[in-house]
Symmetry: C2
Subunit: 514 residues, 2 copies
């Protein structure tokens, strides 16, 4: 039996007490890699708490990489988890007195974001809705190979030589053409090639943010944006993104709340995703886009428009981007090949006013000199041959089928009290479970059934709603979508039946999580 | 005639007054893109100052990108130079009142580093010793193509899919083998793949540095390291790197001065290049390496060992790296394919204690998710086939010939008062001109002869010595090395003859530059 003691009268939530005590047991060596820990139900009985409490503690420890669940075999202390000891206080000076105490030297005392652990390879045959990423099985390998062949025959050694921070000229040329074809008349001086949107956010943070600055983020938001703002030691001001049932006809970031935030704070930057927002899938209506631009202009706050999903327009009316509507030069648009083409190549770009690009180029050079040229040259050739547009068109068709299959399966298998967004494009559907449910706990049960998703907790910078989750649908084929949603529906119904008797205890736990 | 007025009694150096007045004329529109400005000799006569004063002002304006010289045609205001106006005070709010005043929003008010402008493509037939980079004409294109073919046939779509922040497994495997073959027994948990040493420095800065922290750099140093420390708003403490004539048998970073610096400051990190230091080419003796490690251990200051040139060992005894000598786990070694193989691919790595790698991996993920996988897979295959070692061996042989040709030419053509380092490897030779000479001015004359190099000014964070310069020899073949050095020798002799009469005025100018 584990030496655990929870104090129900403490102001520290029970699941936090449990989490911290378990972590200490690992750090002290009482629990060692490979040790099995009790099932959540078993430990809950033993401690006299609700299973949700244990499940929440386990979910956090799993996201830290300290424990790992195996379907049908139980939960274990992870091998290598001792390397995570930097979350603990620095160890005493070593006996030899010489070794550097690295943990005491880190600039930040922050623990790891859990999303990439959540995204670790699932067991075979399991169905993962965790990530918003393309389906690699659909990548046109023959055509990519032909493009690379052509590059290697034609380009000569310059692609392997130190290149320009601006980006590979061939790709810049193709990209400007491609953007013009979409209705964005960017010039050479408005374009910078980057390693993708995560780097673009990093460059923007370096260019504009100082510690203590206020940044407006969507809430919920792309976790990478939250990480960037936290890393720059800024104040993240989350403005609610509303679903169609919360604000019919006015979904997406709440421009009224945004205005109040801008009026009350000296905001330095806002980061928004008007098209097929990650994680909610919402599309910002035209009127809200105009209002957003007007606010940016009035309060002199630049907008970073995350345009990464916009090209995956699947149905309904297509909106002009903020950049296309921008008459006041307030928008920096970040974009990438990663969602509509090939994320493994790590190539994206920024479209911005010339003086902003000039500054970002300088920062990009100081960050990693330039983006890899082989990947850029391959994408340039792929685009030049018309294959990029062809691939995009095919992806749109397939992803629409998957979205429709998902919606159909949700209609059939989800309890009435469940709601979900109806995105016009992108890669994710946002689900709201009945009040009182915790998606992190449900994930534990779902995994036992071989299905996984991303609980809402990873996307909130504040006002976390535990009963939300994201389903990334583009990486799962229709058969698995139906199988996965069927299993999710069953898990949810089972839990609902169990809850009917224990609503009060569930309520307590939910409050503790807020 | 330009409206310029220099005040000789001012405490502001004349060349700074001239530089700033010329810059103002551009910003105010009195000088416009395409306008020709007087030759330095002509303007010097007109203003009654020494030509060096004008040359220094022009050199700075050129490095800012404001003016550009054309061989045989004179010097002109650059097109696009108005986009550099962020070095000037923010312009008044625009008439429409809506456009964001981007310049007023940048986090830093710093102007651009000039090295990349210096590195811009030189006119055809000119000989450039500017950069420390490999010779692309020697890249084994057939073998690279075969490696890529094999990758595309064998690997499947996973290289184009979102990958692991750790790096592509195939490359990690090959690299650990490769390092073991060199005598470094790193394990999986000690390795992180990055986009090269510039990114590795950026990640280290994010992991360890807070504004105001003190960082020890070599002086002179790799400019990218200076930029990283400045960008992190740290205090750069430059410790002198000494040449063999300054400290026979004890060249490289001055460990005595280092000890004094560590004793007097709470230093957070030191960045050193023990092997074939950029820019001086010096090798740190074994005894100094041991002392450095002892100091790091005693003062608990981690060492970042820049190992990027070490594999280009051309002659003489090979030293064990700091990482190999490190018994106290104080060294983070940054390394890259960029110098001994192919910089355009942007792939490097870090070898460090497991808890440091764990932290850096987290930061790498927040910075750009992961390094591009196509480049990694190509390098893995190239290495697996034994081609990397073969290429390295060939490069060593060729670069040694070039180094010997350079030394031979310097012996023949340089005046007696000139000194230069005798590196055992790497890519650069460091030259000291006779006292009173300014390498930036000499560059202007050298360019007229179609030869260029990197003046020492770009490498100093403090105590700048104007009479130093760096010759990167690996990108120039032997015939051009002889031609280039012959021209440099002639330029220098001409200038020396002119100086014999005007030593006093030169002296004044030299003091103003310190």
């Amino acid at each position: 039996m584990l030496p655990l003691q929870l104090q129900s009268e403490s102001h520290v939530p029970l699941y936090v007490q449990l989490r911290d005590q378990l972590r200490s047991l690992v750090h002290s060596g009482e629990l060692r890699p490979g040790d099995r820990i009790p099932a959540s139900r078993e430990l809950a009985t033993q401690l006299g708490v609700h299973r949700t409490t244990v499940a929440n503690a386990y979910a956090e420890l799993e996201s830290e990489g300290l424990i790992q669940g195996h379907v049908g075999r139980g939960t274990y202390i992870r091998a290598g988890s001792e390397s995570l000891k930097f979350t603990a206080p620095p160890p005493p000076a070593p006996a030899n007195g010489g070794s550097v105490r690295w943990e005491s030297l880190f600039a930040e005392d922050r623990s790891e974001d859990g999303l990439h652990r959540l995204a670790q390879p699932a067991p075979k045959d399991s169905i993962s809705f965790v990530l918003a990423r393309p389906d690699a099985r659909l990548f046109p390998m023959q055509e990519l190979r032909a493009s690379l062949d052509a590059v290697m025959r034609r380009e000569g050694p310059s692609i392997f030589q130190l290149g320009s921070t601006d980006g590979y000229p061939g790709l810049r040329h193709e990209l400007l053409e491609f953007l013009r074809g979409e209705g964005l008349a960017a010039q050479e001086e408005n374009l910078l090639i980057t390693n993708g949107c995560q780097q673009s956010l990093d460059l923007m943070a370096k260019a504009f943010l100082r510690p203590g600055d206020a940044v407006v983020l969507e809430n919920p938001a792309y976790p990478g944006a939250i990480t960037i703002c936290a890393g720059a030691r800024t104040r993240c001001l989350g403005v609610a993104v509303r679903t169609e049932w919360e604000a019919p006809g006015a979904e997406g970031i709440d421009v009224g709340a945004l205005e109040a935030t801008l009026a009350a704070n000296r905001v330095k930057l806002m980061i928004v995703t008007p098209d097929f927002h990650n994680p909610t899938g919402t599309t910002l209506p035209l009127e809200s886009r105009r209002k957003l631009l007007e606010l940016a202009s009035r309060y002199q706050v630049p907008i970073v428009e995350d345009h990464i999903y916009a090209r995956l327009h699947l149905r309904g009316e297509q909106m002009p981007s903020l950049k296309q509507l921008d008459r006041s030069n307030v928008v920096v648009q970040i974009d990438s090949f990663s969602k509509f083409a090939f994320p493994g190549l790590r190539v994206g770009w920024i479209v911005a006013p010339a003086n902003v690009i000039e500054r970002l180029r300088w920062i990009k050079q100081a960050t990693d000199l330039h983006t890899g040229q082989l990947a850029q040259a391959a994408l340039a050739e792929f685009t030049r041959r018309g294959l990029l547009l062809k691939h995009l068109t095919r992806m749109r068709r397939i992803y629409l089928s998957r979205l429709e299959a998902l919606e159909d399966a949700l209609e059939r298998h989800m309890p009435d009290e469940t709601r979900w967004t109806r995105p016009r494009g992108g890669m994710c559907v946002w689900l709201e479970l009945p009040a009182g449910f915790d998606a992190s706990e449900m994930l534990i049960h779902a995994r036992e059934r071989g299905v996984s998703f991303a609980p809402g907790r990873y996307f909130y910078s504040q006002a976390h709603r535990p009963n939300t989750l994201r389903l990334g649908f583009t990486g799962v084929d229709e058969r698995d979508i139906v199988r996965g949603v069927t299993a999710l529906g069953e898990v949810l119904r089972v839990e609902m039946r169990k809850r009917r008797g224990g609503a009060r205890r569930v309520e307590t736990s939910r409050v503790a999580l807020v």
